[in-house]
Amino acid sequence: MKFWRQPGFWLPLVIVLLWGGTVLVLRQDTVRETAFTVLMFMALASSLNILLGYTGYVSFGHIVFFGLGGYTGFYLISEQGWPLLLASLAGGALSGFIALLVGLAVLRLRGAYFALATIGINEAARAFVSNFGPFGGATGLFVNFAAYEKYGGAGQALWTTFTFLWVTTLVVLVVSYLVKHSRFGLGLQAIREDEDAAMVMGVNAPRAKTITYVISAFFPGIIGTLYFFKNGNVEPGDAFQLHMSIEMLVMVMLGGMGTVLGPMVGATAYQGLRGYLLTSPIFKDLHLAVAGLILLLIILFVPAGAVGWVRGRLPALRRVLE
């Protein structure tokens, strides 16, 4: 069972490789912007899925890692002159470290209590950053234009950022597949199904959950850095938007939690829908309400999500649609 011989390993990667490659060849700004948004949500949803899908723990405030990591990376680029690669890795590392500390404290909680605690953490981080001088307080930070010069000007920097995001998305998908199909991942799925029974079978649940939380927080930290660098500024209101956390959940549920492909499908479908809703005169103020409605309908009628539903109906496709 070598993973590189499995079609289910390659399918998501090939899709993202071809897509990102096409965008780079076309070299049109609008195409890139759309692709950036969708890839970003794919990677965010996939990161969340590593925790939500494999361990069953619902993190409502997962966007906190995007915000904190993004702030850190942005600060390092803009104020300290770090290169993008190092700064985004540092953003990821900080998010991972925060997840480690938070995880040690709140992963003792189960179910709804854990979900509530994660919301609290997001709000606490927003309040902290709004009052934290080095991060610019409530007004946030603006990029120092000299930072773009290193990448051949602002236009070129956007392409570089896109390429980084593209690679990050590929890495997230590889990690997601490897976690799912490892011994470690089997332990996580046992935790998801019955945590007490899993522990009786020898799964070190506290450690496994904490490691998973760190992994699923690391990537949003990187993605946050890339996103805010692309935007050129970062402020508390943008970095810790609770509704983005919920949209990430919708994407994971829509595509199918616990699958590698699901968050990709969910992110693409949701972004498509959102694009339509935001431009439609009737729904433009209601897109979050529609998102909530979708979440409700999925949970009631298709709890396995699109990919899970297809896997259930067509067992022959299971090795392809991981």
Partner: protein
């Protein structure tokens, strides 16, 4: 001694769940644990395998004090358990369920080794044909076998069986008893809670009786069955008991 339980006491708030429970189990033995409902049998299992830490007392497993160690560490040391209320990991296949036991049990197998161990364990309990089915689709008797297979795949030194015969029909009971004997013959010690008296009397080398959280009797099956305290607390009618021993 594979297991020594010394003066174990546990309270839930004001409720005295276990009081000074003390017994030893020798290696290779099948030790039956009987007693009326609510006597604290499952609670005692929970203390032995680390789900609860005792308020007082010690659990010594293969010479090592494991009191207060979390259940996953106890599992690693070679103690496996089949639950009374079956707990299949519903979304996983039957084989994957058993692989969890093998991967995280005493030997900490890799995935590929775990898969072949799982198939062995499933064959042992007669579930080989259902390995690829989702475990949620099994019936109760099959889920009980799955619990057993999962515990076996961990290659434990000591197996805790919590009412694995309950809810099975007579044919299934006969098969399960044969399976349990075979497991013992392979060198695994077994501590079992059981209400099916004929089965537990015939299979156990030794029996201990729990009532209101206290051990009220211990001995060979025939000694326990004729013990007046046990008859009063649990077995009920003395004639019924005599008949039980004849069968």
């Amino acid at each position: 001694m594979i297991l020594q339980v010394q003066d174990v006491t546990l309270r839930f708030g004001g409720l005295q769940a276990l009081t000074d429970v003390t017994f030893d189990q020798t290696e290779g033995q099948i030790l039956g644990l009987i007693g009326p409902n609510g006597a604290g049998k499952t609670t005692l299992f929970n203390v032995i395998n680390g789900v609860f830490a005792p308020y007082r007392g010690k659990i010594i497993f293969r010479g090592e004090d494991i009191t207060g160690k979390p259940s996953y560490e106890v599992a690693r040391r070679g103690m496996a358990r089949a639950h009374q209320v079956v707990r299949p990991l519903t979304e996983l296949t039957v084989r994957e369920n058993v692989m969890v036991g093998a991967c995280f049990g005493r030997e900490g197998q890799s995935l590929s080794q775990a898969a072949s161990l799982a198939d062995q364990a499933l064959a042992q309990v007669g579930l080989a044909g259902r390995a690829d089915q989702p475990s949620g689709s099994l019936n109760v008797a099959q889920k009980k076998r799955l619990e057993l297979a999962r515990a076996l795949a961990a290659r434990p030194y000591l197996l805790l069986l919590d009412e694995v015969l309950a809810g099975l029909n007579p044919t299934e009971i006969t098969e399960m008893v044969a399976t349990i004997r075979k497991i013992r013959d392979e060198g695994i010690s077994i501590l079992m809670i059981e209400h099916v008296m004929q089965a537990v009397m015939s299979i156990s080398d030794h029996i201990i009786v729990l009532d209101y959280g206290q051990l009220i009797a211990a001995g060979k099956p025939e000694e326990v069955a004729s013990n007046p305290k046990v008859i009063e607390a649990y077995l009920g009618d003395p004639e019924m008991t005599a008949r039980l021993m004849v069968e």
